[in-house]
Assembly symmetry: C2
DNA sequence: CCGTATCCCTTAGGATACTG
DNA sequence: CAGTATCCTAAGGGATACGG
């Protein structure tokens, strides 16, 4: 079997790539925050309200992590009276749309499958 | 602004869906195990060797979780001399291929972006 | 409103050792 | 080979309170 090597390499490559993705997007909150962000929620408290269950402390630290990875930009508008801070998805965040769509889709179908539980053939 | 409601609902739906997906596929190992599985690694120790860094304890518990979610099937071949156990991806696991592909792809590009670090325009 | 600081608890997951 | 048992640490994340 000489294809073994090829397969091993392919597997290792896949492994490394999703590892990278998980490193950046993994955890309970990061993708959810990105969803809220691209949906149009930009203010801190707005985000906290949209993402049920997240605490200010966690939201804050996750936002920093996401900014470091270039997925959002923290913008301070000093010209307003009570300084307005906005978290805006970057252009780069667009690349996540596919990820979110695919993952969300899978989650949706999976839930149906689990709850519906049609007798699947083995 | 009367589209707000629609947007809120859409966001909530997305949120719930990826939440479900993360619940099933989240964590450091589950997706990696599925990759190894569909790549063709089926035996316990084989998997442990393919997925660098995973301990027997974790591999074992993750395999159970994945089986519960219908993504793999544990098959015992009692007809061999030293009983052979195989973990086989189910048909359903096919639905993950897209997820893995998209996520892996994103991870790959992201790594290039981070390491290469071409001056991106804001 | 926009966060940070503290404190604490739970969980994921690593190390090692051991059994059928 | 295929796991389980134990133990332990680190990190994630919740609650509350507080400051700019």
């Amino acid at each position: 079997m000489e294809k073994t090597d090829t397969r091993q390499v392919e597997c290792a490559t896949h492994l490394a790539s999703v590892e990278d993705a998980i490193y950046v997007l993994g955890g309970k909150w990061k993708l959810r925050i990105m969803i809220a962000l691209v949906t149009g929620y930009h203010r801190f408290n707005e985000l906290q309200r949209a993402i049920e269950g997240i605490s200010a402390r966690v939201l804050s630290s996750e936002l920093k992590s996401l900014e470091l990875n270039g997925l959002l930009k923290r913008v301070v508008k000093a010209d307003q009276t009570p300084v307005v801070v906005e978290y805006l998805p970057t252009e780069y965040a667009e690349t996540l749309k596919e990820v979110i769509a695919v993952l969300g889709n899978w989650g949706l179908k999976h839930k149906k499958r689990i709850t519906g539980k049609i007798s699947q053939p083995a």
